[in-house]
């Protein structure tokens, strides 16, 4: 594995170099706001396409509001167009563009989520390939950036990740604390990007300093939960009707915010968008938190109440994903915790399950609960 160092102040120049080689570069950027916003506005950091090396926030802020998911699995896209002529329906193919892309400044949790999406959309063993996802994935390079200042909602260490993890990354950057970055080239795609930046990279990396920097950040993560017993507890079908689901989930209001900001949530819906006798069949993001998500044509809804929908989300992350794909369903980015309007916290579920798994014979947490 090749390593090198890079001056942090040269990231803008890196972006310019990548842009010069006709790559699409996506980086965290601050969204410009109108003046005098009042105090209700916060700085909005999102992953967006950059057109110059001056305008980026790589390594600044924590997590952009959107994940990198939307650059692999589009928010909405057409599958084909159709037109009805008399009794015949003609299918008109659509042409997607898949530009060569470098996403720079991706945090380790977001990078780890790519593997989870891959297992759904491009698992050859499952006999299914999503052409849109795989085409985009094969043309996208991830340049990740270790975290330096996790906030109160981060919990990557609880799901076997770390703030300096290089999992899912092609080229990994870690701040060494002296204005330099440790650069690790991890894949061929990463090497191709590194070659373009050759003029800015210097010598060998400093492995010891990198380990040390990573360990310091590791200690800043306060939400430490043991996720090891969760899967086994969930596998026990008796626990599917445990009282905790209803007790913790009754305040859930059923907005899809947690699923839409989640970097590993991947559910989508397909509809025909009609205009007269022609239209498009489109694919767009959906959420298991919506009441009509599981609504049958008969009118029956197996997940009829909101707590069952949240139970499904939790099971999806900690049971279905690991069982089916052997990849983590949750990467601990904490976006769902930050986004939730009623402070429904996935780590509280984790803690409750861990507690129940450790004390199988204990009384219910609140025996009076009805």
């Amino acid at each position: 594995m090749k390593t090198a160092t890079l001056n942090k102040s040269d990231i803008g120049k890196c972006i310019d170099l990548l842009l010069q080689s006709d790559l699409r570069v996506i980086a965290p950027r601050l969204i410009p706001r109108l003046d005098e916003d009042g105090t209700d506005s916060i700085d909005v950091l999102t992953f967006t396409e950059v057109d110059s090396g001056d305008d980026h926030q790589v390594g600044e802020g924590l997590l952009p509001l959107n994940g990198v998911k939307e650059f692999l699995f589009a928010k909405h896209e057409p599958l084909f167009a159709y037109e009805k002529r008399g009794k015949k329906i003609e299918i008109i193919p659509v042409h997607h563009e898949y530009p060569q892309t470098v996403i720079i400044g991706v945090r380790p949790c977001d990078a780890a989520s790519i593997a989870s999406l891959e297992s759904v959309f491009s698992d050859a063993n499952a006999g299914f390939e999503d052409p849109f996802f795989t085409e985009r994935r094969s043309r996208t390079t991830f340049v990740t950036y270790s975290c330096t200042a996790p906030d109160a909602s981060c919990f990557c260490t609880s799901v076997n990740l770390a703030p300096d993890s290089a999992k899912g990354s092609d080229l990994h950057l870690t701040e060494l604390g002296d204005g330099r970055l440790h650069v690790e080239v991890l894949t061929e795609a990463g090497e191709a990007v590194a070659n373009k930046l050759e003029t800015l990279l210097e010598g060998e990396g400093d492995q010891a300093a990198r380990e040390k920097a990573g360990a310091t950040v590791h200690e800043k993560l306060t939400r430490l939960r043991n996720s090891a017993p969760i899967m086994d507890w969930l596998m026990d079908t008796a626990n599917f009707d445990d009282e905790m689901w209803e007790r913790l989930g009754e305040k859930c209001i059923g907005c899809g915010a947690c699923t839409f900001v989640c970097p590993t949530c991947h559910c989508f819906d397909i509809v025909d968008e009609n205009k007269g006798s022609k239209g498009y069949r489109i694919k767009f993001w959906d959420s298991c938190q919506f009441d009509h998500f599981t609504l049958h044509a008969s009118g029956h809804n197996p997940r009829d109440w909101q707590f069952k929908r949240y139970r499904n989300r939790f099971n999806c992350k900690f049971k279905i994903y690991p069982e089916k794909f052997e990849t983590p369903g949750c990467v601990g980015c904490g976006r769902c915790i930050r986004a939730c309007p009623v402070n429904l916290d996935i780590t509280e579920y984790m803690a409750e399950v861990a507690h129940k798994a450790a004390n199988p014979n204990a009384m219910k947490a609140d025996p009076d609960f009805e």
Binding site: E77, P78, A81, I92, V94, H95, H96, E97, K275, Y280, I282
Partner: protein, 161 residues
Amino acid sequence: MGKKIEIHDFEPKIMAFVCKWCTYSGADLAGTSRMDYSPNVRMIRLPCSGRIDPQFMIKAFEQGADGVIISGCHPGDCHYNEGNYYARRRNTTFRQLMDFHGIDIERIEFSWISAAEAIKWTEVIDAFTEKVRELGRHPQYDDEIVDPYAQFLVQKDQESA
């Protein structure tokens, strides 16, 4: 009679949502009286101006309409006694909502036209068509909004080559 046929560069698409008791009958009268009015208008007949949901107007714009006319009975003449009063309040607020969104409310016309006012109908339609023609194609609801996937239908040169 008969107007001289003029050729214009831009022919606006205009949607009219009209009450069946007054405006539609008024338009009918205009037709049976062989009056001329601008052919740019596409009419949809509804039971009452109170039935006109703002959703219809949003839909009309997003389907590519350049202007929308809403019309019903004069106040006091509603077949259902009060439908047009509700329509009036609804449109007072809806216009301001569209304005706040940045859509030119000159493109939304509201008019009271009775079953006898065939002449008023032709005048309103002609004047509004002229106005929208001058305003031109709806700049806010551009092609990207009216047909969000049009770009996907165009085969790029390098792909065909």
